[in-house]
């Protein structure tokens, strides 16, 4: 079972990195989302895997899953929604403004002068 989870994290990471390195905004956003899954599962797994032992206190039960990574990942999931939404908005704004959804600057021209406005 541990191998399954570890490999799932690896696959999500690999897919995420590959898509993140694409040239258009949409696959990049999806890549970041995949990476988010990978990171969340990774953090969650740092509490080790336990089956059938949710951290809900019950009389007579002694073994529980580690609650701390769960709490951290819970907020991470919600925050990552906020982050995704902002990135999507920026991507959309850039596309609507320029009709171009490349993530790289088209022309790489260094700015001239010293920025001296006088």
């Amino acid at each position: 079972m541990e191998l399954l989870v570890a490999s799932a994290i690896g696959i999500l990471t690999a897919g995420g990195i590959y898509l993140m390195l694409r040239l258009r905004t949409f696959p990049v956003i999806l890549g970041i989302s995949l990476l988010t899954y990978a990171v969340n599962v990774f953090l969650f797994a740092s509490g080790r895997l336990s089956i059938g032992a949710p951290p809900i206190l019950r009389d007579g039960i002694e073994v529980y899953a580690d609650p701390l990574p769960q709490a951290l990942v819970l907020t991470a999931i919600v925050i990552s929604f906020g982050m995704t939404a902002v990135v999507v908005m920026i991507a959309l704004g850039a596309y609507l403004g320029s009709d171009d959804d490349h993530v790289d600057d088209a022309i790489n021209k260094p700015s001239t002068g010293t920025g001296d406005a006088t």
Binding site: T13, G16, R22, F44, L49, Y64, M89, T114
Partner: protein, 956 residues
């Protein structure tokens, strides 16, 4: 008055002039004056304690773990400088009231001035060197604003920038020096550092610390070779020049040298560096000043020269030198501020400051003539004026100073500098006020109103008073000197008097004054010689240097930061992998200690689906809708995994977030192209695949590694499990951690979420108000629209289940403390309920029924959570301490009431508001684009389309 109040008054007062701007110029200047006067009087209330030799202190611990405390102290030295800053500040404010024209924004000016004043008072009263550094940087920033106050003048902007660059860099160096000093002494409190002279001077880091601190002092006090910024700062309005360059800003470096005198001085390094820099600055400044035609430039270079004089005196490291320095600071502040103000008056009335166009003003401006002449003669070192006394002491000190083994060097150079100093003072008087009246002044000069001449006149009264009766100033200067010296030396016994007998210093004085007169007599040939001599122009060098640095950093930055996001992504991924590999290969790994759990068919099926979805995404990502469906599968499998591995809260959060994320991406895809074209080369795809595989393998290896090993120490989770019910009153440990143990984190997180939503809203507003709007309005949908935009089935269904979903949300919220659920999940569930209405019945229908704006909901959430936290203050507990109790109302069972539930309500509201505001913003884009919007939820309504009954509502 408390020292805190004295420092805080100018800062808080700085708000007032800006606010009073519309109340008129008089009110504006009046309130500034009142604020300064209050601080001034507050300072004076501490005078008896200071004269008695007591140390007045005030202390608040700020960040004790970093040694950074808000500690203030007032001794003789601090009092002296604070007196100059606030006292001359008052005169400057009165003067500026008359000086500034109607076109100048007075509120802005006085706001900057008070900020600057507060920062300066902060420097001289700080007892903690870190605090001192904060105020030090504040003076650099506020003086930048003051120097560049006339934004329309390029000289003003350039001068301000140059001053900020030079003093800011010096400030950075000084931070380094101060930190070293604090490390050596083991404390950042000045009072402790000042006790550790031997320890600090014996330390091998003494010289680096000294160099760095002196760099800060020399840049601030315009010592050679950093003197060039000061004359360019003269582009500021005259009140600023008079304030910054007579009594405050440039004296900050001097102040610090005096403050650090007990621990830093007395070593050969200190003596050579400080004395040499001071001597060169003094001579160079005096020579250049003589040949400047602009009154203010002349005064600027004379200030440079006098600062050099004071620096040299501090450099000698003797008690007499320190006393002479303190006395000269007092005298220089009085006569130089008066001179700057006089120059301002001449400029104001004659409309020029060019000495070559002036002359004969004595008949036209008699009052200004008297003021300027007395101040200038004092600066030249004429007896019965205060400048004579301290200059005499300086010359006396110079005869005892041996630099580089040559006993004649310092006295000779000091006399030479004084000679030029006397010469430019005589030139100032002779070429501006004496001589025949001319008829080609740009404006008809006459004496200004009392508002302008009274402030310098008050200073000149002091100049004469100290000059005639030096014993009046003597006790005060000795108290100041005592606090400069600390325990290192006794205050010299020497009396301040006009006649010391036929001592060498007197002869040097006579040579200087006579030589100065002769110099003026041969001024014209000397000027021609000066103008034909090639000399380096500091400004050109400075600008060339800046340009070179900019070019260098641009070459470096553009190599790395070329605008290609994919390049940054690749660099970052590779860096993380390499760094992780390095850490891995240099660390030690224990043996596997956990048994692997057997693979169940269900888990394997889920794994296969996740695998298929991810690989499918990689291969099919060019079809965007398809990849969206596939990522939905991946997210679903992650949620299922959370359930499987005992994390019900996470599963519920993940699946609800998944729903809103997919809706959001669908809304975005509505505008984006549906296909991603193939652009990258095969080579590049191979490279990316390699990076991706390396990253995947690395994370897999690491996850695998820790999954088969136990934690090396007991995780803190044990504490949470043990105390969740006892301390937090809840059995759902995850929720108790969120709302109780780590409530402060959660509070921060809902704020971040709210900010993200507001950012999206703001971006939408920007888009809709810019050129994008027209494009959206004209946009043709790239796919045929559905004929039935609001299907009746869906409308009916969503309305029927709305109450049910809300009830589920309510239930999840309430049970959250003890069972899986809570504010985050409930918020997401309720958001989905509302989003369903938007989707089914249309934007207009839904928003017409919206009673509360989402911004308000976010704000209410954050406010409720914050107030819950503050509530615990009223029972003297720290922020966010929770409490709970059990209540029993007869017909019901016993139930729990917890303040954490109130906090969770805040979380709930913030989540609802944030999610809804984001989605609503996106759909507003869609609404403006191409949807023929209608307020009616159902499209098929025969009565509406029947013309005789109701007019058509299409396109409304």
């Amino acid at each position: 008055m408390s020292l805190f109040l004295i420092v805080a008054l100018p800062f808080f007062g700085a708000l007032l002039p800006g606010l009073m701007n519309s109340a008129g110029r008089q009110a504006c200047a009046g309130i500034t004056f009142t604020v300064s006067l209050a601080a001034f009087i507050g300072l004076l209330t501490n005078l008896p304690a200071v004269l008695a030799g007591d140390l007045v202190t005030a202390r608040v611990d700020w960040i004790p773990s970093l040694g950074m405390n808000f500690t203030l102290m007032l001794d003789g030295l601090g009092f002296f400088f604070a007196l100059l800053i606030l006292g001359i500040g008052l005169l400057i404010i009165a003067y500026a009231r008359s000086y500034l024209s109607r076109d100048d924004n007075m509120g802005e000016f006085f706001t900057y001035l008070l900020l600057f004043q507060g920062a300066m008072v902060g420097i001289v009263l700080s007892d903690n060197i870190l605090l001192l550094l904060v105020f030090w940087e504040l003076t650099s920033l506020s003086s930048f604003l003051l120097i560049g106050y006339w934004k329309h003048l390029p000289e003003g902007r350039q001068g301000a920038r140059m001053a900020l660059t030079v003093t800011g860099m010096g400030g950075l160096a000084m931070i380094g020096g101060m930190l070293i000093l604090g490390q050596i002494a083991g404390s950042y409190d000045l009072s402790v550092i000042l006790q550790n002279r031997d320890l600090i001077q014996a330390d091998p880091l003494y010289v680096p610390a000294l160099l760095l601190i002196l760099l800060g002092c020399f840049t601030k006090s315009a010592q050679f070779p950093f003197h060039f910024w000061l004359p360019h700062a003269m582009a500021a309005p005259t009140p600023v020049s008079a304030y910054l360059h007579s009594a405050t800003m440039v004296k900050a470096g001097i102040f610090l040298m005096a403050r650090m005198w007990p621990v830093l001085s007395g070593t050969p390094e200190w003596f050579v560096i400080v004395t040499t820099a001071g001597l060169i600055t003094m001579v160079l400044g005096a020579i250049i000043a003589l040949f400047k035609h602009d009154l203010k430039a002349l005064l600027a270079f004379s200030t440079v020269s006098h600062l050099g004089l004071i620096t040299m005196l501090l450099g000698t490291g003797t008690a007499f030198g320190a006393m002479a320095a303190m006395f000269h600071i007092l005298n220089h502040a009085t006569f130089k501020a008066a001179l700057f103000m006089s120059a301002g008056i001449v400029d104001h009335e004659a409309h020029t400051r060019d000495i070559r166009r002036l002359g004969g003003l004595r008949h036209l401006m008699p009052i200004t003539f008297i003021i300027a002449t007395l101040a200038a003669l004092s600066m030249a070192g004429i007896p019965l004026l205060n400048g004579f006394l301290s200059k005499e002491m300086m010359l006396e000190e110079a005869t005892h100073t041996v630099l580089f083994g040559a006993p004649w060097l310092v006295p000779a150079l000091a006399t030479f500098g004084s000679l030029f100093s006397a010469a430019y003072c005589f030139r100032l008087i002779g070429h501006t006020f004496l001589g025949p009246v001319r008829d080609d002044y740009p404006a008809k000069p006459h004496d200004p109103g009392a508002g302008m001449w009274l402030p310098p006149a008050i200073l000149v009264v002091l100049v004469v008073m100290i000059g005639v009766a030096p014993f009046l100033a003597e006790p005060f200067v000795k108290v100041v000197t005592a606090s400069v010296l600390g325990d290192t030396a006794e205050v010299p016994k020497a009396y301040f008097k006009i006649w010391h007998g036929l001592v060498p210093a007197l002869f040097m004085s006579v040579i200087a004054v006579v030589g100065g007169l002769l110099m003026l007599a041969i001024f014209n040939p000397a000027l021609r010689l000066w103008e034909t001599t090639p000399r380096p122009e500091a400004k050109t060098i400075f600008e060339a240097l800046i340009a070179a640095i900019v070019a260098l950093s641009q070459r470096f930055i553009h190599g790395l930061h070329n605008g290609a996001f994919t390049r940054y992504g690749a660099i970052m991924a590779v860096t993380v992998i390499v760094a992780g590999f390095y850490a891995w290969s240099t660390g030690t790994v224990g043996p596997a200690s956990r048994e692997m759990q057997p693979v169940t068919p269900v888990a394997f099926a889920g794994w296969v689906m996740l695998l298929a979805a991810t690989i499918g995404m990689v291969f099919l990502h060019r079809n965007r809708l398809m990849s969206l469906i596939l990522i939905g599968i991946a997210g679903l499998m992650v949620s299922v995994g959370f359930v499987y591995f005992s994390a019900p809260d996470l599963a519920m959060t993940q699946i609800t977030v998944e729903v809103v994320t997919i809706i959001l991406l669908l809304l975005a895809l509505n505008f984006l192209p549906n296909q991603t074209p193939i652009e990258s080369t095969a080579m590049r795809r191979t490279r990316d695949t390699a990076i991706a595989l390396a990253g995947g393998l690395a994370t897999m290896g690491m996850a695998w590694h820790f999954l088969v090993r136990d934690a090396i120490t007991t995780p803190i989770s044990e504490f949470h499990l043990a105390n969740s019910y006892k301390g937090g009153g809840g059995t759902n440990v995850v929720n108790v951690i969120l709302v109780d143990f780590r409530g402060f984190d959660t509070y921060g997180e809902i704020i971040v979420l709210g900010i993200a939503a507001l950012l999206i809203y703001a971006l939408t507003e920007t888009l809709l108000s810019g050129p994008v709007r027209a494009r959206l309005l004209n946009r043709k949908p790239d796919q045929p629209r559905a004929g039935d935009m609001h299907p009746t089935m869906m409308v009916v269904l969503t309305r029927v289940i709305m109450p049910v979903v809300l009830m589920v949300g309510f239930y999840i919220f309430l049970r959250g403390h003890n069972e899986p659920g809570g504010g985050f999940i409930a918020g997401l569930v309720v958001s989905i309920a509302v989003v369903m209405q938007y989707m089914a019945s249309g934007f207009s229908w839904a928003s017409a029924r919206l009673r509360y704006p989402y911004h308000g909901v976010i704000g209410a959430g954050v406010l409720i959570a914050g107030l819950t936290g503050i509530g615990s203050w009223f029972v003297s507990k720290p922020f966010l301490t929770s409490d709970f109790t059990y209540v029993r109302i007869p017909p019901f069972e016993k139930f729990e009431l917890a303040t954490a539930a109130l906090f969770d309500l805040g979380v709930f509201l913030a989540v609802v508001g944030a999610v809804m505001l984001s989605l609503e913003s996106f759909s507003r884009l869609a609404r403006r684009a191409h949807v023929p919007d209608t307020e009616h939820p159902m499209d098929i309504d025969p009565s509406r389309d029947d013309p005789p009954m109701t007019p058509a509502r299409e396109g409304v």
